[in-house]
Symmetry: C2
Subunit: 161 residues, 2 copies
């Protein structure tokens, strides 16, 4: 109980700090994009660190789908205390991970009034996923969308080189 | 295992972000003091939130020493995975909490070469303690010192009004 709260509170505080900090510099236009990118970058580095620990004793993965299943199950449980509820793929490098009760959104009302605030609480987690996948050799673009809180969809698009 | 790593990594990333950010503004002189105070403030608010959760089902405390014992045991275990190793007081409002293996310092070498880096990794935790105590009605000044990593001493001085 305690630790997810610890992580959630620290995350909230960090988001709030980064947005306030940006606002205090008076760069209103660049605001949102810069904050999202800062948070995403922090998540990316943490994701890289975490996946190294989590996969230390894991056998190697046989393909991309296998990696994604690991992210949906082991990684998600370790970070967010539950599995991804639904994983879908077009078998061409796009994956959609749906979490019906995303840990970092559960403190919000599930009404619509905070819906526009949601993206800033997802940037860090997008980075976490991108960092984890990057360390497993998969370059991806990770985005998230919320239509009804606290449910959330992460879209992972693998970048073919 | 996973969660303390999650918290530790996020904490590291946050410290690094706040120091880099400050440096990029070219305000070298104010640097250290501002960063420490930013981190301390974030810790303070998280500490306030955490203590509310942790004491939800606790009986009320009978005196300051009783509160400090709660911080050393329950609070510390929940946040840092172990108890404080030694609590000392002068019975006049000053308490010294010694942690012989402080979680946020264990990733450093225990040699002397990183000793001067240590304070920036303690500011957030000082804030955590101050925030927790503040919500329990005790206004304090909390400082920390390291003489041999990863051991660490927190000094709490209650402010008499």
């Amino acid at each position: 109980m305690a630790d997810d709260v610890l992580f959630e509170f620290l995350h909230m505080e960090m988001v709030s700090h980064i947005y306030k900090d940006q606002a205090s510099r008076g760069e209103m236009d660049k605001d949102r994009a810069t904050c999202v990118s800062t948070l995403e970058g922090m998540g990316f580095r943490v994701g890289q660190g975490l996946i190294e620990r989590f996969t230390k004793d894991s056998p190697s993965f046989k393909d991309d789908l296998d990696v994604m299943k690991f992210i949906c199950k082991d990684f998600w449980i370790n970070v967010f205390r539950k599995q991804i509820d639904n994983l879908r793929t077009n078998h061409q490098g796009t994956y959609v991970l749906q979490d019906n009760k995303f840990a970092l959104l559960t403190q919000f009302s599930n009404g619509k009034q905070y819906l526009e605030e949601a993206p800033k609480y997802l940037a860090y987690s997008c980075g976490l996923v991108r960092g984890a996948l990057s360390n497993l050799g998969m370059d991806c673009v990770v985005t998230a969308e919320v239509s009804l809180m606290p449910s959330c969809k992460f879209q992972v698009v693998i970048q073919k080189i």
